[in-house]
């Protein structure tokens, strides 16, 4: 393999050598190279195999539109499939592999598919693989799936960091070619905030490879000067290596900055990629234009390349893509390639110009007019071509130019369709409301002078106008040739998905005639390049067979992402443990010291049980319950939603929120309340206390705290703004602990300052602001979820752990022990108190046995809808208790209920088990269930159906209150 590196020129640093491997073989290149340029320089052409036919494929482009040269980059947790060799900046130690071939790139068994090619036409799989049915999942599909896909992705975690950030500007300039640079410069000089983003590794756009002349210097020098000025302007942010992938509402742009993709491993503390959300007052799309291939026989053989790419490789990367070239063009830019190739010593056999008339462009190369290439000779590399007149030419490089397509993607992502411009034979961006404006070639301006002027005009809108430098214009004229009908062999429209001109004809023939049908039937434009090269050709071919114009056919829908974006970048730092924040109770530290096991409750993590040496969760919870019921226990209930409701109309407001009444609540007392949704279904419950005439302290369930707050805000702001009421979440201000059990009072008595806790001074449902531990503000409530004589004590959060410890100390003599959410839940189930599983958004207050709480005297949320026939029907499932007839049977949550004699069927379904617990008090598994017409069925024996774990057994329906019905312990 002899070197294709040119002796001089190019933007590469020849003084340094970078070592890398491709398919295990060692190569070397220079800083400034891409993987593609380095491989080409090493004479390596065959870089991949195609999707369906496994045809040999090589580099076609020099940028993000590359459909063929996709490789597996890096290894292990850093492995990236389908990475474009044309955009990978070479770094020392780079490792890449070719894809979709077995056993090797050179000898690929999959290539037999080419033999079957006549059958593998568009949509072939819809027509077969149907018999016998069972073969689909077992045989056909696995085979198809194995063939499909290109690279293979890693299943290991990614060791690199990712970051998200926001940016704001007056003007976002997308693209740093002549148009973009002028726009940015003009705006910058008017002192507005400018962001200039370009996906290239270096700013300058086409000036990095086109031999231009601007303001008397080379285009490259001019660009460097402009970039230097921009870099030194404080109100300008330059973002190279940054692809703007999408345009969203509010003129927000999504962009990915490849901060460290050009090195083997990011430096410590630095992200691999940064995802920007750029909020721009205005934006300029200076994205340039994409050169199109021509659709002709063998246009995918390695060595057939875009003419502009050939220029880019020779001028920017100092690589000769071949020794002897033939240029195939329908427009003037082919001539430019011929010119540049000769300038660097590559023989140009001929320019094949499909146009009859002579071109304005100079070349000095033998030019044949009104000719086309019908066939490319060569398998893994071009060795020659054949013209439509039969002539054969020897060559190892075909540089094709089918004209230029303005890069309008972003401008079309919010619904507008691009417009066909026959003069340049391309779609140009639609008119917008001015928040995103295309300039330069993206706007169909094909001459350098137009691009400079266009950019300057756009950027000058901020005051300072900018003089447009003089420049030399290359000729631009095109007369479309879309495909060579007399082609021999496959003529590709979409390289990556192996879609040919014939596939488009077939699709049309079979009735899939809309451009969107053609896309889906042939998969044209659906690969990783999203049809950057192929779509316009496909549209033109379709237009021709349908006998319609290209406008009439139109494009498919442009959508994000302009180029594919990694999951990692969009996830940013929010993965693994950091996917969502953790919310810790002020008693977390206290519970940790006592060896608690924690459990997730929404974002909260709560202490679930406090195991002693070797205890299972069940043993631990069992002990915690007994201890609370027989002695005294402490439980962290800080996560309950707590809302301070104040104001002259606070009571009236609560009366409208709750279905029961609060205006009658005495100061210093607490009351259990139920809120309904406006549709009459129960929403949430909790105790609310009156601390003073215009001050209430509301509590909500942990799960609904946020929703209740929003609901309160809605009700006040949107429904009753006239009420004088305000509300503040104080959930986090107060650490709250339940102290429950026969010795609760004795324990607390030792902690509170100068209050005697007796049934007269502090009766059931008392609620007072007191102090504890010698002056710490606190709120004490005599309420009980456990059914025991119990209190809930709130202290300011920073004192939480200290107070809890003090209580533990005070209770020592009484045998106090902490209990967690498991024990809490066991006790509430023993007492038949409802929780999330019963307040599940489908139950009415009546279903839960709380119907009598619904006032009939006042207007409140949910009152009217609760009266609907369906919500009153006697067959509704309502709350009951449940016990296994055979004490040994374990009831499982989620079991269903059937009449004893009935067989399983939806029609026979009587209800389900909502909550279960092992009851230490009853020494068996007990449950709460929602049972059709349950209230009338206490005592009935039912089948408890658990088909999932196929355990069915008998259970007896009972009152939901399993333990201490008379509430003797509560009042003890």
């Amino acid at each position: 393999m002899t070197s294709h590196r040119l002796p001089q020129g190019g933007l590469i640093d020849r003084s340094a050598a970078l070592q890398f491997t491709f398919d295990g073989k060692h190569f070397s290149g220079h800083p400034g190279d891409t993987l593609a340029s380095a491989l080409l320089a090493n004479g390596k052409r065959l870089l991949g195999r195609s999707f369906k036919y496994h045809r040999p494929r090589g580099v076609i482009s020099a940028g993000t539109s590359e459909p063929n040269a996709l490789v597996e980059l890096r290894e292990d947790g850093r492995k990236e499939a389908n990475t474009r060799a044309t955009t990978i900046e070479l770094y020392d130690g780079l490792i890449a592999k070719s894809q979709n071939r077995w056993p090797s790139l050179n000898f690929d068994v999959g290539a037999v598919n080419s033999l079957a090619a006549p059958v593998f036409v568009a949509g072939f799989y819809y027509k077969t693989f149907m018999w016998p049915k069972s073969f689909w999942e077992k045989l056909y599909e696995p085979a198809i799936r194995r063939m499909a896909g290109l690279g293979s992705a890693s299943k290991e975690p990614d060791p690199d960091l990712y970051e998200k950030s926001y940016a704001h500007c007056d003007l976002l300039v997308i693209g740093s070619g002549p148009a973009g640079l002028m726009a940015a410069l003009a705006a910058a000089r008017s002192n507005v905030r400018v962001i200039l983003a370009d996906e290239g590794s270096r700013l300058g756009g086409s000036l990095l490879f086109e031999k231009e002349e601007i303001g008397g210097r080379s285009g490259l020098d001019w660009a460097s000067e402009v970039i230097a000025e921009l870099a030194s302007t404080p109100n300008v942010t330059l973002l190279p290596r940054t692809t703007v992938f999408g345009w969203y509402d509010g003129n927000i742009f999504g962009a990915i900055e490849r901060v460290n993709d050009h090195v083997a491993v990011p430096p410590p503390h630095e992200p691999r990629q940064r995802y920007w959300r750029i909020i721009a007052k205005r934006a300029v799309l200076a994205a340039g234009a994409e050169e199109r291939p021509i659709v002709f026989g063998g246009n995918d053989v390695p060595g057939v390349m875009l003419a502009s790419a050939v220029r880019a490789y020779s001028n920017r990367y100092a690589v000769a893509c071949g020794r002897t070239a033939v240029v195939f063009t329908n427009n003037d830019s082919g001539y430019r390639t011929a010119h540049d190739l000769r300038a660097c010593g590559v023989a140009v056999e001929a320019i094949v110009d499909s146009r009859a008339e002579k071109s304005g462009a100079a070349s000095g190369v033998r030019t044949v007019h009104a000719r086309t290439i019908t066939r490319v000779i060569g398998g893994k590399s071009v060795s020659g071509i054949q013209l439509n007149d039969g002539t054969r030419l020897e060559c190892d490089l075909v540089a094709m130019s089918g004209g230029w397509s303005p890069i309008v993607n972003l401008a079309c992502q919010r619904g507008a369709k691009p417009q066909w411009n026959p003069d340049i034979a391309g779609f140009v961006s639609p008119p917008t409301n001015g928040s995103l404006v295309a300039v330069g070639s993206a706007a169909g301006k094909m001459l350098l002078s137009e691009c400079l002027a266009d950019g300057a005009a756009e950027g000058s809108q901020y005051g300072k106008s900018l003089a447009v430098p003089k420049c030399r214009d290359e000729a631009f004229a095109v007369s479309p040739l879309w495909w060579v009908k007399s082609s021999k062999g496959k003529a590709f429209v979409d390289y990556q998905n192996d879609a040919t001109a014939d596939d488009i004809l077939l699709s049309e023939r079979e009735g899939y005639t809309d451009v969107e049908h053609v896309k889906r039937y042939t998969t044209t434009g659906m690969a990783t390049d999203q049809g950057k090269l192929g779509n316009v050709n496909a549209i033109a071919i379709l237009a021709e067979v349908k006998g319609k114009t290209i406008e009439e056919v139109g494009t498919t829908t442009f959508r994000p992402f302009y180029t594919p974006v990694s999951f990692g970048a969009l996830a940013g730092p929010f993965s693994g443990k950091h996917f969502q924040p953790i919310r810790k109770s002020p008693l977390h530290e206290w519970a940790t010291d006592l060896g608690a096991t924690f459990v997730d409750a929404g974002l909260w993590i709560r202490s679930a049980w406090f195991p002693k040496q070797g205890e299972t969760w069940l043993a631990s919870a069992d002990r915690e319950v007994r201890n609370a019921r027989e002695r005294v226990g402490v439980c962290d209930v800080s996560t309950l939603g707590k809302i301070d409701v104040q104001g002259k109309d606070a009571a009236a407001f609560l009366d409208r929120l709750y279905c029961n009444t609060f205006s009658t609540l005495a100061i210093g007392r607490a009351r259990y309340g139920i809120m309904l949704r406006e549709d009459g279904i129960t929403f949430d419950d909790g105790t609310t206390s009156r601390l003073s005439d215009d001050h209430f302290f509301m509590t909500t369930t942990t799960a609904n705290a946020g929703r209740v707050m929003s609901h309160i805000e809605f009700c006040h702001q949107a429904l009753w703004p006239d009420l004088d009421v305000s509300y503040v979440s104080v959930t986090e201000q107060w650490a709250q602990m339940a102290v429950a059990g026969p010795k609760a009072r004795a324990t607390l008595q030792k902690v509170v300052d100068d209050v005697t806790l007796s049934d007269t001074t502090f009766p059931y449902l008392a609620a007072k602001e007191i102090t504890v531990l010698g002056g710490v503000t606190a709120r004490l409530f005599r309420i009980s979820f456990s059914g025991e004589h119990a209190y809930e004590l709130s202290v300011p959060a920073d004192y939480g752990s200290m107070a809890a410890r003090a209580i533990m100390k005070a209770g020592e003599e009484f045998g106090i022990a902490p209990y967690g959410t498991e024990a809490l839940s066991i006790m509430r189930i023993e007492k038949g108190h409802v929780a999330g599983a019963e307040l599940n958004g489908t139950t009415t207050a009546a279903d839960l046995g709380l119907g009598r709480m619904m006032s009939t005297k006042k207007d409140y949320i949910g009152r009217v809808m609760a009266g609907r026939e369906g919500l009153l029907s006697k067959n509704r499932q309502c709350l009951v208790g449940l016990r296994a007839v055979n004490k040994a049977d374990r009831i499982r949550g989620g079991s269903h209920l059937l009449k004893k004699s009935d067989s399983p069927s939806m029609a026979n379904d009587q209800g389900y088990v909502s909550s279960v617990a092992w009851s230490p008090m009853l020494d068996q598994w007990i449950g709460l269930a929602l049972l059709a017409n349950g209230r009338e069925r206490h005592g009935e024996v039912l089948t408890i159906f658990d088909g999932l774990r196929n355990k069915n057994f008998l259970g007896e329906v009972c009152d939901p209150v399993h333990y201490d019905k008379e509430n003797t312990k509560l009042h003890a």
Partner: protein, 432 residues
């Protein structure tokens, strides 16, 4: 109701003029595929039809079953865009019958049965692929809720498997079980669930209906509904007036707009639902997985792309495109569930306009206007329903009364308090 066997018999007796098979493929390969004929006609609309259906999604299935099950063939399906341009052509292809409520489960299970016969019914490979739908849960409470759902399925004879974390690990060892923010507690698996190639479903129904004489009229937007003395008389369209005595509306995101043409206001909001697809990669995910601690679900298409989505964006919309916040949430959840995805790339995002009903369940019913029938409220779950929805809607239109499978999908259920709320979030469409 027609027995399943009967349905199969009828289907078998169906023939289309161009049979698809390996042999026809080979034969045509010899003639360079020049002799394939269109899968459907592109007819001019007639002046009058017995039944006009608005919308070429469920509408295609409806027309097909009207013809096949009820012998009503003088039918037109009017589609404002190209056929399949609606949600049927932009959904994430998941089919399942893992519903909990008695009003839903039998309906979706019937749909599943029809999917299982699909290729044979249509002589069209829609790649019905029962690779299993797995829903993950992360807490005991979620686990019990799954048990309730799974037992509801079992009670109705539907397949369901409740898995502990270890069981999930055996299926998908590369999920993040222990190191994530919300460790995986277990999952509910429906082995018969899976995916079906969305576009192919539209094409198969279109080809099937067309071969039975149904006119499928594309690029024909209904702009008005003519009602005289409480009885439907026909529709105004961008291609002129088309008369009919019976009009079936299956317009998904546009239901409210179309219903308004007849003066109806619906318990529906139109929302944008986004979906995404990654670059094609070698086999990575066998079945369908749904994350329980964030909005993310994923499966892999036969082309190799990971097809995934999350929740609706949450605001009323008729624009088939969404915004960044939902994209970010979905991807964050995705990487949280499968850390290996970090270096996989998303290639495209899109949106569809879904008809969010007030209880998250569909409506298949007559309206108070004679001859006007409504099929709507599918939210983001109506693709799997396509066969049963078409089946029931055809029955409702043909017999002028609901089929027992859609008896509960009534329009007046909200007024009367018989809502069908699987999620229990009430009259908040953006939360269903």
């Amino acid at each position: 109701m027609t027995s399943f066997k009967e349905a199969v018999r009828r289907a078998k007796s169906l023939k289309t003029d161009m049979h698809y098979s390996v042999f026809s493929l080979l034969k045509n390969a010899l003639s360079k595929h020049r002799n394939w004929t269109p899968a459907w006609r592109e007819p001019e609309p007639k002046k009058n039809y017995d039944v006009v259906i608005v919308g070429a999604g469920h509408g295609l299935a409806t027309a097909y079953y009207l013809a096949r099950e009820h012998g009503i063939t003088n039918v037109a399906v009017l589609e404002k865009g190209w056929l399949g341009s609606g949600n049927i052509g932009r959904n994430t292809t998941i089919v399942r019958s893992n519903y909990m409520l008695p009003e839903n489960n039998p309906f979706y299970e019937w749909s599943m049965k029809l999917w299982e016969r699909f290729e044979q019914d249509f002589n069209f490979n829609a790649m019905v692929s029962q690779r299993g739908v797995l829903n993950l849960c992360h807490t005991d409470a979620q686990y019990d809720a799954f048990a309730r759902r799974g037992n509801a399925m079992r009670i109705d004879g539907v397949d369901a498997v409740l898995l502990e974390a270890e069981g999930v690990r055996r299926l998908y060892p590369f999920l993040d079980f222990d190191n994530g923010r919300f460790p995986i507690r277990g999952g509910l698996l429906q082995p018969r669930g899976g995916t079906v190639r969305h576009d192919a479903v539209a094409w198969a129904y279109a080809r099937g209906a067309d071969s039975l004489g149904v006119d499928i009229i594309q690029n024909c937007e209904v702009t008005g509904i003519r009602v005289d003395r409480g009885q439907v008389a026909g529709v105004e369209t961008t291609r002129g007036f088309i008369g009919c005595r019976k009009l079936g509306v299956a317009a998904a995101g546009n239901s409210s707009e179309v219903a308004a043409m007849a003066g109806l206001k619906l318990p529906i909001e139109s929302h944008v639902m986004q979906a995404f697809v990654s670059e094609g990669i070698k086999p990575y995910i066998e079945g369908v997985i749904t994350f329980g601690a964030g909005h993310f679900y994923v499966s892999q298409s036969d082309k190799g792309g990971l097809v995934f989505g999350g929740d609706i964006d949450g605001y009323n919309s008729y624009a088939r495109r969404g915004n960044l916040p939902m994209l970010e949430h979905v991807i964050e959840a995705g990487v949280a569930m499968i850390p290996g995805l970090s270096r996989v790339r998303v290639v495209r995002s899109w949106g569809g306009i879904v008809d969010m009903s007030m209880d998250g369940s569909p409506i298949i019913d007559k309206t108070h206007i004679d001859g006007l029938y409504l099929n709507a409220g599918w939210c983001y779950g109506g693709f799997k329903a396509t066969p049963a929805s078409g089946w029931c809607f055809a029955h409702t239109i043909a017999c002028d009364k609901a089929h027992e499978l859609n008896a509960a999908f009534r329009l007046d259920r909200f007024q009367r308090g018989y809502t069908i709320d699987e999620k229990g979030v009430g009259a908040t469409p953006n939360l269903h």
